[in-house]
């Protein structure tokens, strides 16, 4: 054991890292989907302009 340090720090670091990473991963999907939607809109608008 590492007696010189506060054990709570290790616990909170693990839980914090887990929750933040999973939330960020889910948020990245939402952001990417929004980005692809917008790109498709631009593509369709450009196609309309060409026609």
């Amino acid at each position: 054991m590492n007696p010189g340090s506060d054990p709570q720090v290790y616990v909170w670091a693990s839980y914090g890292l887990t929750i933040v990473s999973l939330a960020a991963w889910r948020a990245s999907m939402w952001w990417r989907l929004r980005q692809v939607r917008r790109q498709l809109e631009v593509l369709h608008e450009a196609a309309g302009g060409v026609q």
């Binding site: 590492n2 290790y10 693990s14 991963w25 990417r32």
Partner: protein
Amino acid sequence: MTSPLAKAGPWERWLGIVALVMVVAGVYWGLFVSPVDLYQGEPMRILFVHVPSAWVSFLAFFVIFVASIKYLRTRDLKYDTIAHAAAGSGLIFTGLTLASGSIWGKYAWGVWWTWDARLTTVAVLFLIYAVYLLVRGLIDEDAKRARYGAVLGIIGFLDVPIIHFSVYWWRTLHQPASILRPDSPRMAPELMIPLLFNTAAFIVLFAHLVIARRRVIEAERSFTRAQQEQLHESGV
């Protein structure tokens, strides 16, 4: 078939809500309600996120393994998309397994990392996930990418049983399995119940993430197809 750009379907939505409720309850249980092991003390609470992350990282590769076999048998890209969707979350859960294990190791063993058989084989799993995603990213053609991915997905899965048995095959610092062992589990029910609850929460979350990621992959594929069609029509 619904468009990948449509809003989340009922499965994705409901699994997301259930996962959120279960993860919040599980974290609260693990942090504030569960008793701690007398010998390990407070850092034992890390177990309630470390073990579920590890099990989900193995489950994710099992999904890739099954979907890869299905793809090679049927050549249906639906299975390739499922494998691809599982890989992203698998990489995240494996990274979290290594990180939470490392934090626990620093407290218990005094080091962030040691080349122990269990730790090393999990690090290899992380690399397999990374290589799997990297190879996929390097190939443009759908069928070729799916074929290479399926072969990697099947070969890569071999690491999962090696991880499980590593604590029996080699002398390791990492403790042997407490629950998934040939005889009865060696863990007090007060600790095992929150651990199993958190595992269930992480599995529901994983299912939600796979469905959500699948929708993103299908949307990206639709965009690439539309872009190619437009280039073809404009004669480029």
